[in-house]
């Protein structure tokens, strides 16, 4: 036997030495297939594609090193221990020793995931880069019904909810949200954290159905890694803005299903480290207490206490200097331009939510863009009767009682404003109207030939208008809204006029070219009679179109087969794209025609 024992028949090199099939791997690890899958999920091991599939195309191949990596994994040992433990429980149950069974059940060893997370994501940025799936899954499971037969635990769902809210609170607090999109599948959010673009999908706030063809254990396996991952990420993020991590949540707000709001408030109040803030806080507290009456004073919430406790040391002289420095530093560096823009979008907007609107997402989105938000409920920061409210989000057929001082808009307005980064005119979003189309912010119009919907053009004009003119004074914003509208419209007209002018110019140029061509041809014709050398030229100019077509073919003739096939494939895919585009344009034409006829 040599230094390293190689079993008989085992290959020395090549694909057969580097890869093993799944069955071989399982046999090597001496575990069951479900456990193998679970370990793969936890460790993030995926099958690989060897260049030569030595055992056939229908097999799944793993890298030998990956399997060795699993082989040395303490989790493997842990799962063996769990199995032994389960057997003990079973035995106790069989002997009707309920007490022992319960005690054993409590003492079931629990695998620790933190080390694996660190292994999989050595840097925080790595973790952020792959957070999309994690967030989507956690948000989905926050809305799934807990069922015994599917083994979906209530605690698990609560944990998911908690983590999701914490994440949202952080994003909103730091104004990192960039894009939102209400789709049929749910609401997409896109945030930018530490240079990583993170997109996640939250289902609509309705109960999810768990279909039978979905294998829940697999998803739970994923959750087993996603939950702690998000926990650690949240911790890191909260830590980075000097917040205590498992944040204290006002139980009343929780009961009101306004956790995000509660968390954001917690984050904000805890994160004001200057001296001024304390006085402000006291003032605001007084104000609030005046507004809300004695009721709130009686029920001094846990939150308030926590805030005060947190604030206390900042009043001590030693800590003061440090804190002020920090505050200065924070205000100066933290926000880049985009964040600032996001932060100030709803700066002068005070929004009240009606009962029927999706509160959870709006609680998240509006503060993320610097707006103030309230709702109908006990712990709401301001009541519906507040005169300073500028917008009320309403989603019903008709609004009964109206305050003249505010606009009644549909929830889509908020999302569209966020995507356009300007405050859009509200007249299209009035109560009872069908709002303008909600466009995806993820579509890139830069690609040539892509179809641009009308409303996208309108928004572009509005954006241009907002950029060109000096932003309206924040104080008089309310009054200015209508004039802004007018202005925007004016600009649209102007833009249209511009376009028309451009088109005219183009036409002119074309005409000129045509004339020149004609002239050339005439000259050519005259030359033909004159001399033979020129004949070739004219022939060429006449044959130009034909020649171009030939050119294309010619190049293809000389291409190697491989490239030619690639080119064909590209052409096909381009054609498919084009045809999709064409159908949309065709439909649009039809719609326009129908509209014209009607009008």
């Amino acid at each position: 036997m040599g230094k390293h024992y190689r079993p008989a028949g085992k290959k020395k090199e090549g694909n057969a030495a580097k890869y093993v099939t799944r069955t071989q791997a399982i046999r090597l690890l001496q575990i069951s297939l479900p456990l193998f899958r679970k370990l793969c999920i936890l460790k993030g091991i995926t099958p690989r594609e060897p260049k030569k599939k030595f055992k056939g195309n229908d097999k799944t191949y793993y890298h030998v090193k990956d399997i060795a990596f699993l082989h040395h994994e303490p989790l493997l040992e842990m799962h063996r221990a769990i199995r032994v433990h389960e057997r003990k429980i079973k035995k106790a149950e069989a002997k009707k020793n309920v007490e022992r069974a319960n005690r054993l059940r409590e003492k079931t060893p629990k695998p620790k995931i933190d080390r694996i997370i660190r292994q999989r994501y050595p840097r925080f940025v790595d973790a952020l880069g792959e957070l999309d799936d994690c967030l989507t899954m956690v948000h989905l499971f926050a809305t799934v019904p807990a069922t015994k037969e599917k083994k979906i635990d209530v605690d698990l769902i609560h944990k998911c909810r908690k983590l999701a809210h914490e994440w949202q609170a952080f994003i909103a607090r730091t104004h990192r949200l960039r894009k939102t999109f209400v789709s049929v599948k749910g609401i997409y959010y896109q945030a930018e954290v530490e240079g990583q673009t993170i997109t996640w999908l939250t289902p609509h706030a309705l109960q999810q159905v768990v279909p039978d063809d979905v294998d829940i254990p697999t998803m739970l396996n994923f959750l087993q890694i996603y939950q702690p991952l998000l926990g650690f990420v949240n911790f890191h993020l909260y830590h980075s803005i000097n917040l205590k991590y498992p944040p204290l949540l006002d139980p009343e707000l929780e009961a009101e299903a306004a956790e995000v709001y509660g968390l954001i408030r917690y984050a904000q109040s805890n994160n004001k480290p200057t001296i001024l803030e304390t006085s402000e806080l006291v003032e605001s507290e007084q104000l609030e207490s005046k507004q809300d009456g004695p009721e709130i004073q009686n029920k001094k919430s846990e939150l308030r206490l926590a805030q005060l406790q947190h604030q206390l040391p900042s009043n001590e002289p030693g800590a003061l200097m440090h804190l002020v420095e920090k505050a200065a530093g924070e205000d100066g560096e933290e926000y880049d331009d985009e964040t600032k823009q996001c932060k100030n979008l709803f700066q002068n907007v005070k929004i009240f939510l009606s009962r029927e609107v999706p509160r959870e997402s709006l609680h998240f989105v509006i503060p993320a863009f610097g707006g103030m938000v309230s709702w109908e409920g006990e712990k709401a920061p301001f009541a519906e009767t507040d005169q300073s409210i500028t917008h009320q989000i309403v989603d019903r057929e008709a609004q009964g009682h109206r305050f003249l001082s505010r606009e009644y808009v549909q929830p889509q307005w908020v999302f569209d404003c966020v995507n356009a980064r300007i405050i859009l005119p509200t007249e299209n979003y009035m109560v009872g109207r069908i709002p303008p189309p909600h466009l995806s912010p993820f579509v890139d119009y830069g690609e040539e030939g892509s179809y641009v919907p009308d409303y996208a053009k309108t928004i572009k004009h509005l954006q241009a208008a907002a950029r060109k003119e000096v932003l309206p004074l924040p104080g008089v914003e309310k009054d200015l809204e209508d004039p802004q509208n007018l202005l925007a419209e004016g600009i649209i007209d102007r833009a249209a006029a511009n376009q028309a002018a451009k088109e005219k110019q183009k036409l002119m140029i074309l005409e000129k070219q045509y004339h020149e061509d004609l002239k050339k041809e005439l000259q050519g014709a005259t030359y033909t009679s004159a001399g033979s050398t020129e004949v070739i030229q004219t022939g060429e100019s006449l044959n130009n179109g034909q020649a171009n077509i030939d050119d294309v073919d010619m190049a293809e003739l000389v291409m190697p087969n491989k490239k030619r096939k690639l080119l064909k494939a590209m052409e096909i895919s381009n054609q498919r794209k084009q045809s999709k585009n064409d159908t949309i344009i065709r439909r649009k034409k039809k719609l326009d025609e129908a509209q014209n006829q009607r009008s």
């Binding site: 989507t136 049929v184 749910g186 279909p211 697999t218 080119l567």
Partner: protein
């Protein structure tokens, strides 16, 4: 004795009933009366009802058979007995009342003295007697007449109360059980207390009332143990404390919540993954477009027709997501596939092998090779200059005279014509009478001989051009001593005979099989013919001056298609269907085999330099061989969609051309450099169109002008065209 028995019997039930209450008994008596009356109402048998109780009891108690004497005939008697019973009830009060005691049914039996007084004797004794026993007065009780079985069965069937009836053998009568009795039977069967009123779990009524009592029940002083800590407990506690201190008792640790902590405390230095294998992060999911919006622009929503048309598509082609429009956010329903899509994503994440694939985000135009500007490669044939009309059939072959002044053509209408190139005038015309396969002009400028292959013959024709001196030489050449020739051929090459052709003033070489092509050697003395069906003699080389023919001394693998001579050396090329075989004629050996990789080659041409050659094939491919480079094609061009009929090199310009059945001819620039390291440059230049397709055939032959960059094409549409460079 009977009496005795009767009396003996009586105490037993009385014992049994001793515990019974008065109230019960009275109650029972009422009930029994009631039963009687009900029985009367039934009118079935007045006596039966009264006795039923006793009978049922007897059955239940011991089931011992007892005979009764009462018969049907003695209804009157039975009435008497009723009386007797009632009397008994009043008179024998002791018995009666005690008897009623325990249970209704029990009592009813016992209080009524059984009609039969025989006592507990085996009923067998009375089997043969006409009576069953004696009543209380000592009279015989007669047996009832037995019904026939069928009658009784029918009666039973008709009677709805049949199931309650029991035959009492002792008293010889049928007893019907009352509802209460059945209840009792049922209760007994369930092992419950038989009496219906009996409550096994009565509510406890405390006889002592606590509320309102001022004084304790007991006046004893509070015991010491109530307020002094227990010594034994203290001892036990001490024991536990010690045990805990010693560590012999351990507690379960409190359940640990695995809380988050600062996992990535300092990761600035880390750049590499712990796993040294290449890690491929999962691709992110595709971001949604406008069509997934809850309120997409109207043009994104497919019409009903389009949605219906999706049903006709294959499942995999069908769009997975059909845009829908909701007019307000409140009307958005829950997305039913949310779980499923998430699950599918999970599957992708852990079951799909991840491969880094370069996404070719390039302009498809950039894939095409950069060709040199065509203008720099001029001159080459571009436009049709002259059309030569005159043939009445497809022109199968053309050939240009060495000087370039004359052009000969052969057609399927059986004529060979000679044209003046520049004017398009038809100079001469031979009627051969058979479809012409191939026409070739002798390459020497002073020997104006045409070789024409017609069917199995090859004709050598004198065109009559040139001055007299030349004509003299040609005539000498074409002079054949026919018998001698035949002798000679008979010896050496019996496959070919050199004959004199008087009609056309030339030589006729008769072959065994159809000759498809004739090719001259550059010196104009030798020429080769190819007979594809000729097997070992498929390629022959003829010498004009000696009028000799010989077959090639080589074995051919495959079907010969064409042959050609090397332009400067004594090398001979034979193109078979799949390969090109190169022979050295002087050394008489095979030099090289070139593998075309084609299915069926159709034509071959050798570059004037001699090191490169092109092969055209019936699948429309064109192979360029660099013989110094390899035995495989340097470049394969797939240009024609149909069969290539001929390929040809220009003698002086770097041009080559191919013509095909798709009625096009391609002109290429094919530059061969003298530097051996530099690969030949091949640039497609021009597609020459203009010929019409007839019977699926397009251009049958093409030839270059020997001096000018002009191309002649012969089409199946009876035309010959000349393409010029201007």
């Amino acid at each position: 004795m009977v009496e005795l028995d009767n009396q003996k019997e009586e105490p037993i039930p009385s014992d049994y009933n001793e515990d019974s209450d008065d109230s019960d008994s009275t109650q029972h008596s009422d009930e029994s009366d009631f039963e009687d009356s009900s029985a009367d109402k039934d009118g079935d048998s007045s006596s039966g009802s009264s006795d039923s109780d006793s009978d049922s009891k007897s059955e239940l108690e011991d089931g011992s058979p007892a005979q009764d004497n009462s018969g049907d005939s003695e209804d009157a008697e039975s009435q008497d007995e009723d009386d007797v019973k009632s009397e008994g009830g009043s008179e024998g009060s002791d018995i009666h009342q005690e008897g009623v005691g325990g249970d209704e049914s029990d009592s009813s039996e016992d209080e009524v003295a059984p009609r039969n007084t025989i006592g507990e004797v085996p009923l067998k004794w009375y089997e043969d007697e006409p009576h069953i026993g004696y009543d209380i007065k000592g009279k015989k009780i007669k047996k009832k007449e037995k019904e026939d079985k069928l009658g009784s069965f029918l009666a039973n069937v008709d009677d709805s109360k049949n199931w309650r009836k029991i035959y009492d053998e002792y008293n010889d009568e049928v007893v019907e059980l009352t509802k209460d009795e059945i209840k009792i039977v049922r209760k007994l069967m369930k092992n419950q207390a038989p009496h219906t009123d009996f409550d096994p779990y009565p509510t406890y009524v405390d006889w002592f009332k606590w509320d309102g009592a001022k004084h304790p029940l007991s006046n004893a002083p509070e015991p010491k143990r109530r307020f002094i800590p227990s010594k034994w407990e203290a001892k036990k506690v001490v024991q536990y404390v010690r045990a805990i201190r010693n560590g012999s008792i351990t507690f379960d640790k409190p359940k640990e919540e695995d809380d988050a902590y600062l996992l990535w405390e300092d990761d600035s230095g880390l750049t590499e993954k712990a796993n040294h294998l290449a890690y491929v992060p999962a691709p992110k999911q595709k971001l949604p477009g406008h069509d997934e919006s809850y309120n997409p622009p109207l043009e994104y929503i497919p019409t009903q027709e389009e949605i219906n048309s999706y049903q006709l598509m294959y499942e995999e082609d069908r769009p997975k997501f059909i845009p829908k429009r909701f007019t307000s956010m409140r009307s958005i329903p829950a997305y039913e596939n949310a779980m499923k899509e998430s699950f599918e994503r999970c599957l992708d994440l852990y079951l799909c092998p991840r491969v880094r694939r370069k996404r070719l985000n390039i302009d498809p135009e950039s894939l095409k090779p950069k060709l040199p500007n065509k203008k720099e490669l001029k001159p080459y044939p571009i436009t049709c200059y002259i059309e030569y009309k005159g043939h009445e059939g497809a022109v199968t072959s053309i050939s240009v005279e060495a000087s370039g002044q004359w052009m000969a053509s052969g057609s399927s209408d059986g004529t060979v014509r000679v044209w003046e190139v520049e004017t398009g005038r038809c100079l001469r015309r031979w009627e051969i009478g058979e479809a012409v396969n191939c026409v070739t002009w002798n390459p020497l400028p002073d020997i104006h001989i045409l070789a024409v292959s017609v069917g199995q013959d090859v004709l050598l024709l004198n065109t009559g051009l040139g001055d007299e001196e030349e004509q003299q030489r040609i005539k000498e050449l074409l002079l054949v001593d026919s018998p001698k020739a035949s002798e000679e051929t008979g010896k050496k090459a019996p496959s070919v005979s050199w004959l004199k052709d008087d009609k056309h003033d030339g030589i006729r070489l008769r072959h065994l099989k159809t000759v498809t092509s004739v090719e001259w050697h550059r010196k104009g003395d030798y020429f080769s013919t190819v007979m594809p069906a000729g097997e070992s003699r498929s390629v022959l080389i003829h010498q004009l001056s000696k009028k000799l023919s010989q077959k090639l001394p080589f074995k051919l693998h495959g079907l010969a298609v064409r042959s050609t001579f090397h332009p400067s050396r004594s090398i001979f090329f034979i193109c078979t269907k799949k390969t090109v075989r190169v022979y050295d004629l002087l050394k008489r050996k095979l030099i090289k085999t070139l593998y075309t990789g084609l299915k069926e080659a159709s034509s071959i041409a050798v570059h004037p330099g001699g090191d490169n050659l092109i092969v055209g094939s019936k699948e429309g491919k064109l192979c360029w061989f660099d013989m110094d480079l390899s035995a495989k094609p340097y470049k394969t061009l797939k240009c024609h969609p149909k069969d290539i009929n001929n390929v040809v090199f220009h003698r002086s310009y770097p041009l080559f051309a191919s013509c095909s059945d798709d009625s096009t001819a391609y002109v290429f620039h094919g530059m061969v450099y003298s530097d051996l390291n530099q690969n030949p440059l091949i640039v497609p230049l021009e597609i020459l169109r203009g010929h019409a397709n007839s019977n699926g055939r397009g251009i049958l032959d093409c030839k270059f002008h020997p001096r000018q960059p002009w191309l002649f094409t012969a089409g199946a549409d009876k035309l010959i065209k000349l393409y010029c460079h201007y």
